[in-house]
């Protein structure tokens, strides 16, 4: 097991180095003088020269790259041009918001998706099966930015059930400890705020969960159908086991590996979807952080934001791979 983990970690090194190189190229690949592009045509020569110096643009590219790597290893992600604050100091609250949203979304996707898939397989060819699978087909084709807008219109603007944007009630802000607001409000015993934070998470969470939920439902259904045809399931039923336990205990346990694969893949992909969801719902997450940086040409933030998200994405994929190898030891030897 340890050997497998070590092998996977070693394989990651060139990928991580490559990622840093691509991110490093973001500023260097800008056509023209990056300092002029960042500061605008009206910038004074002194300001342009100062920015070139601070970005290290006067050195040969390979020196710049090694400087960049050295800074990364010391935890220096650069300084935001807009806020003049170190990126590693200001990035955590944004990351925390994205984590909270992604965890909420994946929980919704797994709970609803897996159960919908199980019930569809259990009652194959029933109206529930057809409805769930048609919805799943629509779900995988759904542009989440459209779904988000429709939810905002219906649940917020028409019915006034849920807040339209933001992460918290601005008149009663959360006292941040970890910046994971659900956790913070629970630690502080402010359960009224917990409810409020959860209400803010419902729409973005559902919008973000839609595609993974649909994919998980389809995968669970097909995997369950295959398992439910096996002899040991027939035996369990013949022995008089209640159908509920046959499905949820015997079948699900054996149908779970492909479902886990999909859950793992989708968890990583949620990070990409979070950028769109955060923009629609005005959530101050990492996606919105990068998006705003693009609007104001804050390239150090764009670089570091993209690098951090990609790093997390790679780490999630690594953890998922290791989890499979625990669930299915054959993977370690393939």
């Amino acid at each position: 097991m340890l050997q497998y983990i070590m092998r996977r970690l070693l394989q990651l090194i060139p990928v991580l180095l490559g990622m840093t190189f691509i991110v490093f190229l973001i500023i260097r690949a800008i056509p023209g003088d990056p300092a002029v592009v960042i500061l605008g045509q009206q910038a004074t020569e002194e300001a342009v020269a100062a920015l070139r110096e601070s970005l290290g643009l006067n050195n040969p590219w390979y020196i710049q790259y090694f400087e960049y790597l050295k800074n990364l290893f010391t935890g220096d992600l650069g300084q935001s041009i807009r806020t003049r604050t170190a990126v590693n100091e200001e990035i955590w609250p944004y990351l925390a918001a994205t984590f909270e949203l992604s965890i909420f979304a994946i929980v919704i996707a797994v709970v609803i998706g897996v159960n919908a898939g199980i019930i569809s397989a259990w009652f194959q060819n029933s109206w529930f099966d057809y409805t769930a699978m048609v919805l799943a087909l629509i779900g995988v084709s759904m542009p989440i930015f459209w779904l988000g807008l429709m939810m905002q219109y219906q649940f917020s603007l028409q019915w006034d059930w849920l807040p339209t944007t933001g992460r918290e009630n601005v008149r009663d802000p959360v006292n941040a400890i970890t910046n994971l607001y659900v956790l913070d409000t629970i630690i502080q015993g402010r359960f009224d705020q917990t409810v409020d934070v959860l209400r803010h998470l419902v729409m973005p969470g559902l919008a973000l969960a839609t595609i993974p939920m649909a994919i998980i439902a389809r995968m669970t259904r097909s995997s369950m159908l295959e398992v439910m045809k096996s002899d040991y399931i027939r035996t369990a039923r013949a022995k008089g086991e209640k159908m509920f336990w046959v499905v949820y205990k015997h079948s699900l346990k054996n149908a779970v590996i492909p479902v886990l694969t999909v859950i793992g893949l989708q968890t990583g992909l949620l990070l990409g979807g979070a950028i769109l969801t955060e923009t629609i719902f005005g959530l101050p997450g990492i996606g919105r952080y990068i998006y705003e940086a693009i609007s104001s040409r804050d390239y150090p933030v764009i670089q570091s934001g993209i690098l951090v998200v990609a790093f997390i994405f790679v780490m999630i994929n690594l953890i998922v791979d290791i989890l499979y190898s625990i669930v299915d030891p054959r993977i370690r030897y393939s």
Binding site: I26, S141, Y153, I275, L276
Partner: protein
């Protein structure tokens, strides 16, 4: 008394001689959902081709006195904040979305397949370099990589198309590489080598045609993804710019009028969803018909 044995009908083997594309079409036709997908895609292609004749008004015909009109017999999808007919803009938007989806996928298929073929055929360090490059590109969430590319090139529809093509390259590359790895061990490739055929000719006359099936399947599914990615970039203001009638950009503009004019948001989004659904259903059907081993 035992019944007399029935005369067995001779087994018909008419289909054995069917050319592969005919057999694939026969399999595809049996799949009703795939036919629904094909119909949706055909519908949007017809709309895109005949857009100037279908759309009752021009994409930028403004009637400020009729701004934000609800759907009616005169304006089927209503009007936007400039009094432009949304139906006409959605119809013209089909051209942009299909064109972007198609071009981005063709671009990524050509580049990805070429790299994949080279990596798979030559192996060793060439394969290592190209495969690591694919790994690195796949290490980024795709929309994030697209945003990175657009942030370098600047926001425009053309640059969004380039970004989408780039992010899809490794998907094609990996697929073709694995196909080439199995094809190159076939006897006819060894025979071609033995008679002194050049690598270039072997690659493009033998290896590529025999690796086409996964490219077609992946291509049809990738168009759906590319359309959604283009719309997402348009929505974020990084793709098509006003006044182009791109569906994502139209959705983005509709956000300011969500309460007064929800139809400005509804119809462009519905168009994206339908066309993506069509390509997804058709792609699934193609996969099952052309390459049942790829079926998930």
């Amino acid at each position: 008394m035992a019944e007399p044995a029935k005369q067995l009908e001779p087994v018909q083997h008419q289909d054995e001689t069917l050319p592969p594309w005919k057999e694939a079409w026969r399999n595809f036709k049996k799949n009703k959902i795939a036919i629904v997908g094909l119909s949706i895609v055909t519908f949007f292609i017809i709309v895109a081709i005949f857009a100037p004749w279908i759309a009752p008004e021009g994409i930028n015909d403004q009637k400020l006195s009729e701004r934000l009109q609800a759907p009616s017999s005169e304006y089927w999808f209503g009007t936007d904040d400039f009094g432009r007919d949304i139906f006409s803009r959605v119809v013209h938007g089909a051209r942009i979305s299909l064109w972007v989806g198609f071009l981005a996928v063709v671009g990524s298929a050509v580049v990805g397949s070429t790299l994949g073929i080279i990596a798979g055929y030559y192996g060793r360090w060439v394969d290592t370099i190209i495969s690591r490059l694919f790994d690195i590109m796949l290490a980024f969430p795709s929309i994030l990589l697209a945003i990175a590319v657009v942030s370098i090139l600047g926001p425009s529809l053309r640059n969004a198309l380039i970004a989408i093509a780039i992010i899809n390259v490794p998907n094609f590359g990996r697929l073709i590489r694995s196909k080439v790895l199995s094809v190159k061990e076939e006897e006819y490739i060894m025979a071609a080598r033995a008679i002194g055929m050049s690598d270039f000719r072997i690659l493009f006359s033998h290896v590529l045609p025999n690796s086409m099936t996964p490219i077609i399947v992946q291509g049809s599914l990738a168009i759906a993804t590319a359309i959604i990615e283009a719309a997402a970039l348009g929505f974020l203001g990084l793709g098509a710019q006003a006044p182009q009638p791109e569906w994502g950009a139209m959705l983005s503009a509709s956000r300011s009028f969500l309460i007064q004019a929800p139809w400005t948001m509804f119809f462009p989004g519905l168009a994206i969803m339908l066309v993506v659904l069509g390509f997804n259903l058709m792609g699934d059907g193609l996969r099952d018909a052309l390459d049942p081993k790829m079926k998930t």
